[in-house]
């Protein structure tokens, strides 16, 4: 069984970047100065990921204003809508408003990926994307297209993005699907989710696809997760009892969101290792991906950095010949 560690979301902006983005909005700093700081901070995040021994790199996705903006701004059919609460948190996103069935503009999303991930960095990069169910479910659909059809259409468009990015050397694609856990789909919608990920699978050509659920109980949606054509399914362990993950997930890659960004309290490496062993011994996953559960940018920069150290510490505990012992 392979054990991977890495980030599963956008990383918080540093305090310097917080100040600079505010200053930029108030006309107190220039676009060039802000750009320079973004680049420097991306390098810092990348260095942190290297230091922590992460297998995949993100450079923090610091410029993204929210999960949907890179698409709402580069795909045709959208405008950027009102500020809307992000699940049960005190953070918000701008709800995309879809006026006509969406169309992608080739190359434009790729240009929104952090620069350190391009070129040689692509091979180890983790590309973050909104999952088709979450994207379709959280936008304001005024296009006239039924929601279930929209899930599949967005899945096909994301598949085209994956195809383009595979051509540029990217291998790992993580689809953020909090809505799957918050509001599991049923009937036609569930079938559309399956079809959407089938479309993605067709364009992966040997790459890895991950569906990451959070803000809800992953066990409740696990039967559907088990049927998705993806390599890895991730659950948020602050919301999910691993003992309730069904045997249907056996042999699949399992993502475990062990770092909870809802608290500054640092998780214990021994406890994380114990959970990993229990999943390993019960579900025999092909791989385990350890990460944060909900987005790590629910924390400020410093506590986020502090908490992530549990991942290499747990990895070390699990490094013995038998995975560091039985569960």
């Amino acid at each position: 069984m392979q054990l991977h560690t890495g980030l599963a979301s956008v990383f918080p902006r540093s305090e310097a970047l917080v100040a600079a983005t505010r200053d930029f909005d108030r006309g107190r700093t220039t676009a060039d100065a802000l750009e320079e700081l973004y680049a420097r901070t991306e390098t810092e995040v990348l260095a942190l990921e290297e230091r922590l021994g992460f297998d995949t790199r993100t450079a923090g996705y610091l410029r993204w204003q929210d999960l949907f903006r890179p698409f709402a701004e580069t795909w045709d059919g959208f405008t950027v809508g009102p500020v809307t609460r992000w699940f049960q948190t005190n953070t918000f996103f701008r709800r995309p408003v879809l006026h006509t069935p969406p169309e992608r503009r080739p190359g434009e999303f790729a240009a929104r990926l952090p620069k350190p991930l391009t070129g040689a960095g692509a091979a180890t990069a983790k590309v973050l994307l909104p999952g088709p169910y979450t994207f379709a479910g959280l936008l304001d659909n005024r296009s006239g297209e039924p929601d279930s059809a929209l899930i599949h259409r967005i899945g096909r468009l994301l598949a085209e993005e994956v195809k383009e990015l595979r051509g540029k050397g990217y291998r790992t694609f993580q689809f953020q699907e909090p809505l799957l856990a918050d509001r599991p789909p049923e009937g036609v919608a569930a079938e559309s989710v399956l079809a959407a990920y089938q479309s993605v699978a067709h364009q992966l050509s040997g790459g890895t696809s991950i569906v990451w659920t959070y803000h809800g109980d992953g066990a409740a949606v696990a039967p559907l997760l088990a049927r998705l054509s993806v390599g890895v399914v991730g659950v948020d362990l602050a919301e999910t009892d691993v003992a309730k993950l069904p045997i249907a997930l056996e042999h699949k890659g399992i993502g475990l969101g062990v770092v909870d960004p809802r608290t500054t309290l640092v998780e214990e490496a021994g406890e994380v290792a114990r959970i990993v062993r229990s999943v390993r011994d019960r579900l025999h996953p092909s791989s385990i991906w350890l990460s944060n559960g909900a987005p790590i940018d629910l924390l400020p920069w410093e506590p986020a950095t502090r908490k992530l150290h549990v991942l290499p510490a747990a990895r070390q505990l699990l490094a013995g010949p038998d995975g560091g012992g039985r569960s």
């Binding site: 609460r85 948190t89 996103f93 701008r94 500054t264 959970i275 400020p300 506590p303």
Partner: protein, 382 residues
């Protein structure tokens, strides 16, 4: 209550700080924009003829440093009082002129918290977030100085906005109470620790503060719980925090909640026995094709007889509501609740999101709308 008119008016809390206050309290001389602003509002509110005339004079003369930060803040508070009173509000406060904002200001008064850094709210907007890292303690009750100033200068009845225990806990990280539990911090463990956190803030910080304010003469207190609707399964914690904070205190309490699905909060809210009024946001959800006030049927469904502070001004849009729209919103609510005497009229939320000019125009429209409604419902005048 007998001296109050039908549909009495109130504000909800914050007001944008005038530019002259921001510059003045930093000791910087006023620029042309700030001077213009001071002149315009002085003409309307006659601040230079009142108890803070010397401070106005110093600011005008470019002597902010000489005026002193405290006096400039006092002038800011007096400005807000006169601003609200000039529209005819029956309950007023100082626009939170002395507070940084509703979360950070309260947390800074307490022991047991450490600020952790900024979290993004959305886009390039952030808020400073603290973690509860120890036992909650209060060196001394807060809001007393600001209340003392308001008490001495207000012409209308003061209503003090105080951030509620649930919101303070929800907007913080719960480190201390969670650390006292063992094993994996699952949902049930987190909930139990959160309950402890909320109740401790209420008992150790809010209740002593409210008790001291009441002892100092405060009669009307608004507990602000904007986070109430964030976690629908924690509605009982909102109420538990409210009950612990107000336990045994004789005052007139209201609870302000906004941008929430109020249905999620019932039946839990029924247990907030000392709460006399719900002051909620409605205008922001009221459109031609969607009645934002229909949710008030909820009170009938649950037999909740409390007063309603009716949000009739959307504080997130510059467009000024017409008096007719305000009157229509009141009319629709009376149709639902039956008794017009249950209504207070207010903006949806604090007005700090709007410029002083826009906020004032909105308040004037509110007052005119209330006049229209009073004519219509005159037979049932209280």
């Amino acid at each position: 209550m007998s001296e109050l008119p039908l549909f009495p008016m109130q504000e909800i809390g914050s007001l944008m700080k005038p530019r002259w206050q921001l510059l003045g309290q930093r000791g910087e001389p006023l620029d042309a924009r700030a001077l213009d602003e001071l002149e315009i509002w002085d003409k309307r509110l006659r601040l230079s003829e009142g108890p803070m005339a010397a401070t106005v004079k110093s600011l005008r003369a470019g002597r902010s440093r000489e005026a002193g930060a405290e006096a400039v803040r006092d002038l800011g508070a007096l400005f807000a009082l006169r601003y609200f009173e000039s529209v005819g509000l029956d309950r007023v406060y100082d626009g939170e002129a002395r507070r940084i904002e509703m979360y950070e200001h309260a947390i800074r008064q307490m022991r047991g918290f450490q600020f952790q850094g900024h979290v993004r709210s959305f886009d390039n907007k952030y808020y400073l977030k603290a973690a509860g890292t120890g036992e909650i303690r209060l060196d001394r009750p807060y809001h007393l100085e600001e209340f003392d100033f308001v008490r001495r200068h207000a012409r209308a009845t003061p209503k003090i906005p105080i951030t509620g225990a649930y919101t303070l806990a929800d907007w913080s990280y719960n480190e201390y109470y969670l650390s006292r539990t063992s094993g994996w911090k699952d949902r049930a463990t987190r909930r139990s620790a959160q309950r402890e956190f909320v109740v401790e803030i209420a008992r150790k910080a809010l209740r002593p503060t409210i008790a001291a304010l009441v002892a100092a003469g405060a009669r009307v207190i608004q507990i602000d719980e904007p986070a109430a609707g964030t976690h629908p399964d924690e509605a009982d914690l909102v109420v538990e925090g409210f009950n612990a904070a107000t336990d045994g205190i004789d005052a007139e309490f209201s609870m302000h909640i906004c941008y929430s699905d109020y249905r999620d909060l019932y039946p839990a809210l029924l247990e907030a026995k000392r709460c006399r009024q719900w002051a909620w946001e409605f205008a922001n959800r009221d459109f031609e094709d969607r009645d934002g006030y229909a949710i008030l049927n909820l009170l009938n469904e649950y037999g909740d007889p409390r007063e309603v502070g009716l949000g009739v001004l959307d504080v997130h849009r510059d467009e000024v509501e017409s008096p007719e729209l305000v009157a229509d919103r009141i009319r629709r609510t009376v149709r639902i609740l039956g008794d017009p005497r249950r209504l207070w009229i207010n903006p949806d939320c604090g007005l700090r999101t709007r410029s002083l000019d826009v906020a004032y125009a909105k308040l004037e429209a509110m007052a005119k709308g209330v006049q229209l409604a009073r004519k219509e419902f005159a037979p049932s005048h209280r």
